[in-house]
Symmetry: C2
């Protein structure tokens, strides 16, 4: 029941000698989701032993090169790896045309299908759902159409406390009803509430990815109480004006979003290449939100499962 | 008077955790030429302290992704670096359309001009010339139109031996004539040959880049006697058949080209990602051509200047 985030790249517009451009891999129950795909993402995935065949969904936040130029190489390598199963790519509508142009020149021999899903970046909406998770868009404020993505485990099914099965000698039909949330009426007509009979086995976990964006109240509202928030921090606080001009955030702004949204943990990243010393950025953010951590290449952030006993 | 080659990437179709895709930087007299531009080339250039502003010419061998997917990021970074001067890109005609599509989506804010030069990959021809060097195409045999590039220093001007200036009390007019290759007629009517009067200060150096290609006689003819030959070696000798099928060369084939062309030194590269141990490839090539070296990321091959004394 893993839920982890691997940082493939922490740099912004330009890479540095040690920092790749934006890409994160989310592992939820051993299924892998790629968010953004900066240049070199495929190499970084190899370094982190991520099995390319298990990536079936790629979510792109916006169409700036530092978030997508790794797609070309990755898509080509998937073909060289003899991929046959579909790959789903989510992003702003124009990405469809960029991909089509790419496929026109380089996709003739592709043996797998790319299915593009246009995302309306202006609305907060569930855009992906399977039996375990949902993915929601988070509208962001950037120079071009841009949205983040919020990954949530679904609320797990109710478990029935074993001692209740024995105590009330529950039938299979009663168990099914109780698992659906119903109370139990005993033979003597008394009501046993569903809460007494059941428990949630664990708390569903959540990860919100927000890059690139100015400080935004909407982000705070949508990411309320998430376990892990990645919020871009292109600049230190003294470059607040430049952050605003370029549609980015500072350390303190990212930390304020985390604080106001009451998240458990904050990762900052998308650092301007002007910074060699990232500890200074970390220090600034921690002065507002102590549970802040730096995005670093090949670092894995685990969200622990909080299990409940009967 | 530097003449050196820096290896940015040594991998073929897929990168590995340690090997980037093809890209070499040629430094001739502190002017830099980029040949091919695999994914991650810009990061590798940074690691090798190559000043992006000094790259004015990029030569592309062919339009497979592992040779060009680094262009997108590099061209974007050049713009972020506030480049204002022209960038010249040489390659097969279709690259123009690929670049135009790229610029359509990502080039709106570019502040420098990209000048594309279509290369006829089927002919051996000088396609670039400046005061110091020429660059010739080398037609290659691959699955798609493909050519290598041969960089040659021009033959340096004749120097006049100082003692001859004194001995014959040469006038400025006579010196100009002699430097142009004329003999000298002395007052007593005897002829002093130009060879006695002058010397070449150094031997012009040369570097031939051949990727991707099958074994080719044409390559041997064109690269005759070059100082340094890079020849792709995607496969070990036991995969000769696969090499032929995919339009590539083996260790032994590359070494045979080097031997038959009588080059001074051979670099092999473009290694299939199946090989972890490259020493085996080196060993095979050296059994035919001892002066063989492995292309390794961030390795610099210097071609020493052979100066002649008066």
């Amino acid at each position: 029941m893993k839920f982890s985030v691997t940082i493939l790249g922490s740099s912004s517009a330009s890479p540095t000698t040690s920092r790749f451009q934006t890409a994160h891999v989310v592992n939820i129950h051993e299924r892998f989701f790629l968010i953004d795909c900066g240049e070199g993402a495929q190499m970084q995935m190899m370094r982190n032993d991520i099995n390319f065949a298990r990536i079936n969904h790629i979510f792109i936040t916006h169409l700036h090169g530092d978030h997508i130029f790794g797609l070309y190489g990755l898509l080509s390598t998937l073909n060289l790896d003899n991929r046959r199963h579909e790959l789903h790519i989510y992003g702003f509508n124009m990405l469809k045309y960029i991909l089509n142009d790419f496929l026109k020149y380089f996709g003739n021999e592709f043996k797998y299908e790319i299915i593009f899903h246009a995302v309306n970046v202006r609305y907060h909406k569930i855009i992906y759902e399977d039996k375990d998770i949902t993915v929601e868009t988070i509208p962001l404020k950037h120079r071009v159409p841009c949205c983040g993505y919020l990954f949530r485990e679904k609320i797990p099914e109710l478990n029935i406390r074993k001692k209740m099965i024995e105590r009330y000698n529950l039938t299979l039909a009663e168990i099914v009803k109780i698992k659906d949330g119903y109370d139990l009426m005993t033979e003597d007509g008394s009501i046993i509430t569903n809460e007494e009979l059941t428990y949630r086995p664990y708390t569903p976990r959540s990860y919100a990815f927000c890059s690139d964006t100015e400080y935004s109240k909407k982000v705070i509202n949508i990411t309320k109480d998430v376990d892990l928030l990645y919020h871009e921090t292109t600049f230190a606080q003294n470059l607040l004006k430049m952050a605003k001009q370029t549609g980015h955030s500072t350390t303190v702004q990212a930390a304020e979003v985390a604080k106001e949204a009451n998240v458990k943990k904050l990762i900052i990243g998308h650092f301007s290449s002007r910074y060699n010393d990232l500890d200074m950025l970390l220090h600034e953010a921690r002065s507002v939100f102590p549970e802040t951590y730096l995005a670093k290449e090949n670092e894995v952030f685990e969200i622990e499962l909080e299990r409940f006993k009967e």
